[in-house]
Symmetry: C2
Subunit: 205 residues, 2 copies
């Protein structure tokens, strides 16, 4: 059975939990508390030397890190990873956009505000990040003006990757109301059969 | 013919130029000066709404953005993208590591220092980024203690993605001397047949 090392409040982890739920794949969840340093123990660093969740462990003990790489691996052979190479490249384009232009500016403000990490030194950065986060949401909103899903004609892992932190962006002080196409797309993702919310643990099985 | 919209001093662009050179693929280079706002003109935003280089344009006018997505697309069918799905996932793991843990902390200090963008407000961030950059290099150095290449037994696009900003990390104030395994790997990449340096333009053809 697959083991997912994760933290329930992590959107990066939620991407993976959402795909596993949509695909109906059973897995064991091992929760690590980022704020308590549980991702930097010698035991976990032996699994992911970069000290981050999520990390996926296969039954043979092999470990894969980076949420979007895990999405790719789990989506192989499903409709969440399209067969056409040009569509595959576009899925990856949006996933790299997510990790570079979106996550550091939408997820990080949320983390600082929710977990008490908004130090004095970080306060000037907060507004700058929120501004860049709104720019990323505008790029998404413009793209969704002409389409239901980010790539092709159905949900892919690009949608799941972008959904995770977008749907809780307001917890980082970024108002979602102006982005009407994004809001409609959020509702489409939440209507996918098998959808689970961010704080859902897998069935004990 | 392929057209690459790029800026010669961009490591993200260099990844793509390096792969094209190694593969012997001809292309047309259109240089845009980031500092002069040339990536934010209406003409370029119509190609990449996120306003960043590199962007790859196919002969039919379709455009792909995000350096690592471009690497994936161009490497399909070559040894730079392995055939095994687990190795593919690991290649992507290192490429997402590059964009999230490495590039913002190794490339951004270099950009600020080389291009006169180290404002007073950014000075406290510089040291923090350099510290995180060193942590990323340490993760790489530890990984390379037991292997010649990041994934599998030969060079992949994970190596090219990580090489681009690592080999010029000192321009961002990060000394490379302590990372002996990284230095040996840098020399292996530079010895690949067809290798070109960062400031090389493609042959006029």
């Amino acid at each position: 059975m697959l083991t997912l090392y994760d933290y329930l409040d992590s959107g990066n982890g939620y991407k993976v939990r959402l795909l596993l739920a949509l695909a109906g794949t059973p897995y064991r969840l091992v929760e690590l508390d980022i704020d308590k340093g549980e991702t930097h123990t010698p035991e976990f660093l032996a699994k992911n030397p970069n000290g981050r969740v999520p990390a996926l462990e296969l039954s043979d003990g092999a470990v894969l890190a980076e949420s979007d790489a895990i999405l790719f691996y789990l989506a192989l052979g499903t409709t969440y990873w399209p067969a056409d190479p040009w569509l595959q490249a576009q899925v990856l384009q949006w996933m790299f956009f997510e990790q570079y232009s979106h996550e550091p500016n939408v997820a990080t403000p949320r983390y600082w505000l929710r977990h008490g990490h908004l130090t004095e030194a970080r306060k000037p950065q907060l507004a700058e990040k929120q501004e860049k986060g709104r720019a990323a949401l505008q790029v998404m909103d413009d793209h969704l003006a002409r389409r239901d899903w980010f790539v092709g004609r159905g949900a892919t892992i690009a949608d799941l990757a972008l959904y995770a932190y977008t749907h809780v962006a307001e917890q980082g002080g970024i108002t979602l109301a102006p982005y009407t196409n994004v809001n409609a797309w959020l509702r489409r993702v939440a209507a996918l059969p098998g959808y689970v919310p961010m704080d859902a643990r897998p069935d004990a099985g």
